[in-house]
C-alpha cells in the first residue's frame, strides 16, 4: 500500500503540473513549409476530410465506400490534380482539428465560412449554398417558428453555425449538443429530443426519406444563407489559389449545380454568384 500511495501522490502532483503547465506555456513560432499544392502533385495523393455521417453529402454505400455530394466534389478535385483521392471520415467538430494537425489537405464538408473560423483556417470561394437554420420536427408537432421551441429539447451539432445561431435566437430551449448529424437525427426519431436544427439541404433530404419528419423554415431566418466553402490550412496561398480556381470551374461550368441536382433533385436554395 505504501509504495502505491507514494506513486499516487507523485502522480497527483504531476497531474496538477500538467494542468497548470498548460496555463503558462508559451506559443512557439510557426515554421515555414512547402506548399500543399506541390506536395499533392508530387505524391499524387490528395487527402480530403469529408463528414461521412451527413447524407447525402457524405455517407457510405452498401459496399462501405464513401459517396455523396461532397465525395463527388472531392473526386473531381483529385481528378483535376491527377492525384489519388483518400477520403478521411470526419465530424463537424473535428474539421478544424483535422486541418490544423495536418491529417487532411482539404475539408470538403459543408464548411460554413465565417470571420471567427477564418482566424484559424483558410476558406475557398463557396461551392454550395444552404438555408442556415431549418428545423426538423415530428410530422404532427405544432412548430411554426424557432420561438415555438422555447422550453423544448432541441438537438444541434457541436461547433456548428446552427448551434451558435439557434442558441442565441432561442435561449430558453434545452439544447443538447451531439457529435454528428446522424446521432442528432436518431435522437429526434426516437423522441429523445423534440426538434433538430440543421441546414435545409440535410433536413429536406432526410424528410424525403422519412415521412414522419417535417421541415420548418422560420420566416425570420429564411434569408440567412450559408455559403459553404472548402477548408484549407492557413498560410498557403498557392494551394488556396488552386482550390479557388477549382471552385470557380465547378461553378462556372455548371458541374456543381449538376451534382446538386443529382443528389437533391432540385436547384441550390440561393445562387452562388454573387456570394454575398
Amino acid at each position: 500500500m505504501g509504495t502505491f500511495d507514494k506513486l499516487a501522490k507523485t502522480g497527483f502532483a504531476m497531474g496538477l503540473a500538467v494542468a497548470l503547465g498548460s496555463l503558462i506555456a508559451l506559443a512557439p513560432a510557426a515554421a515555414q513549409t512547402p506548399s500543399t499544392l506541390d506536395k499533392v502533385i508530387s505524391s499524387k495523393k490528395l487527402r480530403v476530410g469529408i463528414i461521412l455521417s451527413l447524407p447525402p453529402f457524405g455517407m457510405r454505400n452498401a459496399a462501405g465506400e464513401p459517396e455523396g455530394f461532397d465525395v463527388d466534389v472531392a473526386k473531381l478535385a483529385a481528378e483535376r490534380l491527377g492525384a489519388q483521392l483518400e477520403v478521411i471520415d470526419t465530424t463537424a467538430a473535428d474539421r478544424i482539428p483535422n486541418l490544423r494537425t495536418d491529417k487532411v489537405d482539404l475539408i470538403i464538408g459543408q464548411f460554413t465560412r465565417n470571420a471567427e473560423r477564418a482566424k484559424v483556417v483558410t476558406f475557398s470561394n463557396p461551392y454550395i449554398t444552404a438555408v442556415v437554420m431549418a428545423i426538423a420536427v415530428p410530422k404532427d408537432a405544432d412548430v411554426k417558428a424557432a420561438k415555438d421551441l422555447d422550453g423544448k429539447r432541441v438537438a444541434v451539432i457541436k461547433g456548428t453555425t446552427q448551434d451558435k445561431a439557434f442558441s442565441a435566437a432561442v435561449p430558453g430551449a434545452s439544447i443538447q449538443r451531439f457529435d454528428s448529424s446522424a446521432a442528432a437525427l436518431l435522437a429526434l426519431k426516437q423522441g429523445q429530443v423534440d426538434a433538430m436544427i440543421e441546414d435545409s439541404n440535410f433536413l429536406n433530404y432526410q424528410a424525403k426519406l422519412d415521412e414522419n419528419l417535417k421541415v420548418v423554415i422560420d420566416d425570420a431566418f429564411k434569408d440567412l444563407i450559408d455559403y459553404n466553402s472548402i477548408g484549407l490550412r492557413r498560410g498557403d496561398p498557392d494551394w488556396k489559389n488552386w482550390v479557388d480556381m477549382f471552385v470557380f470551374e465547378l461553378n462556372s461550368t455548371g458541374a456543381g449545380n449538376a451534382l446538386y441536382k443529382k443528389w437533391f433533385n432540385a436547384s441550390m436554395p440561393a445562387p452562388l454568384n454573387p456570394s454575398f
Binding site: G15, L16, L20, A29, G159
Partner: protein
C-alpha cells in the same frame, strides 16, 4: 502550428462544470453499480439454480459486450419500447449496470476468499445467515478486494467520458464542444487531460486513505 494557451482561460468555468458533472455521474453510476454488484454476487452464490443462471447470464453478457453499445441501447434503443429518459439518466444506468457486472465478480471473489471456518463459527454461535453475511463475511470480503474496487471506481470515472456521445456535457463533452467552437484543440485537450489526472489520482488518494481507515489490520500487514 501555433499554440494559444491564453485564449482558453475564458473556458475554465465550462471545463470545471464538465469536471463536476463527471464526478456526479461517476458517483451515481458507481453507487448503482455497487448495489447491482452485491445483489448479483448474492444471486450467483444462491441455492436457487435459476437465480444463479440468471446472474451468470447477466454478468457474461454485460462484461462481454462494449459498454458504448450498452449506453447507445439505453439512450437510442429503449425509446422504441416507450422507455424514455434524459441523456444523463440513460448514461448513468448504462454505465452503472455495466460496472455492476464487474463488481459482482469482484465481490464474488472476495466472498470466496473468506475462510469457510468464519461462517461455520458464526453458525455455531447461533448467528443468522443474513447477520453473518453483513457483519462477518462482507467486511472481510471487502477488505480483500478493496484495491480491485478502487480500480473499478477509476475505470468508471474514465468510462463516464463515453457519455459525451449521447450529448452529455461532462468533461469530455465540454472539451469536444469548446474545441469545436474555438479550434483550440491541442490546448483544451491537454488541459482536460490534466484535469482527468487530477480527478483519478485524487480518487486513488482518497480511496487509499479510506481503505487504511476501514481496514487497519490490512494496512499494517
Amino acid at each position: 502550428m501555433f499554440l494559444d494557451w491564453g485564449s482558453i482561460t475564458s473556458y475554465y468555468g465550462l471545463l470545471l462544470q464538465g469536471a463536476w458533472l463527471t464526478i456526479v455521474i461517476t458517483l451515481a453510476s458507481f453507487t448503482l453499480a455497487a448495489i447491482v454488484g452485491v445483489l448479483v454476487a448474492a444471486a450467483r452464490a444462491s441455492a436457487v439454480a435459476p437465480l444463479r443462471w440468471l446472474a451468470t447470464v447477466y454478468v457474461e453478457v454485460l462484461r462481454n459486450t462494449p459498454v458504448l453499445l450498452q449506453i447507445f441501447i439505453v439512450f437510442y434503443g429503449f425509446p422504441s419500447f416507450g422507455i424514455r429518459m434524459t441523456a444523463i439518466t440513460a448514461g448513468i444506468l448504462g454505465l452503472g449496470f455495466n460496472v455492476g457486472a464487474y463488481l459482482a465478480e469482484i465481490f464474488r471473489a472476495g466472498i470466496n476468499a473468506v475462510p469457510r471456518g468464519h461462517r461455520e463459527a458464526a453458525t455455531a454461535l447461533g448467528i443468522t445467515p443474513l447477520q453473518s453475511f453483513i457483519w462477518i463475511v462482507a467486511p472481510v470480503a471487502l477488505s480483500k478486494v478493496f484495491p480491485a474496487v478502487t480500480n473499478m471506481f477509476i475505470a468508471t470515472l474514465l468510462g463516464s467520458s463515453l457519455l459525451s456521445v449521447i450529448a452529455v456535457p461532462e468533461l469530455t463533452g465540454q472539451t469536444n464542444e469548446i474545441s469545436a467552437r474555438t479550434f483550440l484543440t491541442i490546448e483544451v485537450y491537454s488541459f482536460s487531460t490534466g484535469l482527468y489526472l487530477v480527478l483519478t489520482l485524487g480518487s486513488a488518494l482518497i480511496l487509499g486513505m479510506l481503505g487504511r481507515r476501514l481496514f487497519p489490520a490490512r494496512a499494517r500487514g
